[in-house]
Symmetry: C2
């Protein structure tokens, strides 16, 4: 079989310039060009219109391998994007379709048609990449399937203004829970309460954090949705109600530093005493239920009970800055980098 | 209403002489006499024939309160015993019945008839207090309801020669699992494999413990039944299979020391990466299913697939020594102190 040769066309991409060993900076990324290969049998060529960046991707740049894979310098950054199909060698996908897939940080991506999803072209790509993408699905399955909140219970969410957290809070409100958010600034806390519907929000940098956390959880915590690990997890462990559930979604406190917080105290004693369940999950394990989740979240969006938020950056060259801003806690909602039409 | 006065009869008991702040010794206990009260309405007077001692009781003597309650010097040691009813002011219990209840470490106990269970008088009290008592029930619900092992999976048990552990291992074998025990001496390890049916047993004091632990779990760990916390929990966390379950039953490594092991590393990252569930439980939450568990375990005992073990001490004055031996890892199976007929 002849190997398909590239057309010679080149296109933009962002590579990992070096693997970080401390806080991420824009210098860890470099805008380059790459040759665009011709799509092979069963593949499609996609002109990427937008990518999303999640804090979990930082785990993929750690010195030790994580669920996001081992780190490598010189390769195109991985990640999820949405775009329009320019060429299709698949019967199931047409030129002009909008698809979502693992494009990486590049303007043109060749993907296996079986590994992309055709999306509603009437919606902004930010919706596909945010609330109906991995972030929203993570919030949905993590809260409802792992956390299993019941009406009247107290749900606490860390990184509450983040892409996952702000959706978790709204889904929890839709379950008639009392919802407490932990976020990284007073501005974010005000926004969580005033605009997103959290009952209370606490600034994790407050000098009185622990006292405020206790005061915000007078009936203790039934479900703690943990996006951070570290100190906030440590505080939550001491506030769990009997039969409480801790949803281990991510450990952003440990991603962007060479000196992560130590493991929380009281493991396993606090889990025994309060009969707490602490459970890690990865959204990809729920792939066969994505349709159910998207249908439910679309219904909530239509009803106005779920209002997804995103922050937008323009141009592939801004992707590194977007990632640094995200990890630095300077964003609210899902981070979207728009690459053009 | 007149307060019932004691008859003036005195009987033996063991009190906490002082609350330990380091390893337990027999000096923390004192044999005394106490006046035996007359049983009130709805109460029974029991001549205690045997008591059992569990490692979890050590938590009740910690400086901080645990599920076993806050520590106190000068009070009679709590605990479970079995004995014969001498006086009954309850229609549901007859003189001569054998009952099991929270007698504490005493020869004569007055108990609420609603809080004792009438037991089969044909069986040795050691059976009621061991495999059909809290230890066996803890093993049963912890393994089957929290751990949920499936045939062919690998189950690892710490404190495997202990009152709970040796039953967990046998129930796991009855589920067609591969069973690995961790115990505190080569003698115990040999006994676990040769006589109790474990597939492999590892001495936690071995200088090559971590390498032996890895070698014993080539397919990683599906269910880790944790009686110890500390270093063994830390090792297990790094060996969990995807969707593995950690049953948090106790933390004996933290009970009998002023300097417990630090919390294990990798929380919550390892739980997320491997989608592990880590869950604490207390057997009393399963009270409405005790009959089911006892029926199943009795059937296994009759079939010869469950062979409970116990170690016996004679006389209430030996109870302190029995507790110290238990915590020092010098016993196999359930610790029983026989007080006489």
């Amino acid at each position: 079989m002849a190997v398909a040769m590239g057309s010679g066309r080149v296109s933009d991409c962002v590579v990992v310039a070096k693997v970080p060993d401390g806080p991420l900076s824009t210098e860890h990324f470099a805008l380059q060009t790459e040759e665009v290969p011709d799509p092979g049998p069963g593949e499609v060529l996609v002109r990427v219109q937008a990518i999303t960046i999640g804090a979990g991707q930082r785990a993929g740049l750690q010195g030790s391998a994580s669920y996001a894979g081992a780190p490598q310098a010189g390769v195109v950054m991985g990640g999820t994007g949405a775009g329009i199909v320019e060429t299709s060698n698949s019967a199931s996908i047409s030129v002009g379709d909008i698809v979502v897939g693992r494009t990486g940080w590049r303007r043109h991506a060749v993907l296996d048609a079986n590994e992309v999803q055709v999306a509603d072209s009437a919606l902004d790509p930010a919706v596909h990449l945010g609330v109906l993408g991995n972030n929203g699905l993570t919030a949905y399955f993590g809260l409802l399937d792992v956390g299993r909140p019941e009406a009247g219970e107290t749900v606490v969410v860390s990184a509450a203004a983040g892409s996952v957290g702000h959706i978790v809070g709204q889904i929890a409100k839709a379950q008639d829970c009392r919802v407490v958010g932990v976020a990284g600034s007073d501005e974010k806390c005000a926004l969580l309460v005033d605009e997103i519907g959290f009952d209370v929000a606490i600034n994790r940098h407050s000098p009185d954090f622990r006292a405020e956390f206790r005061a915000a959880t007078p009936d203790r915590i039934n479900v703690y949705f943990d996006n951070t690990g570290g100190e906030i997890l440590g505080s939550a462990l001491f506030r769990m109600a009997t039969f409480g559930r801790i949803v281990c979604c991510g450990a952003v406190s440990a991603y962007d530093t060479a000196n992560p917080d130590p493991s929380p105290r009281g493991i396993p004693g606090l889990l025994v005493n309060n009969q707490v369940r602490m459970q890690g999950f990865i959204v990809f394990s729920y792939a066969d239920r994505y349709d159910e989740a998207r249908a439910q979240m679309s219904a909530w969006i239509d009803a106005g009970s779920l209002v997804p938020r995103h922050v937008t950056y323009d141009g592939l060259e801004s992707a590194g800055r977007a990632f640094v801003d995200l990890l630095g806690g300077r964003t609210v909602g899902t981070t979207i980098v728009r690459l053009g039409d």
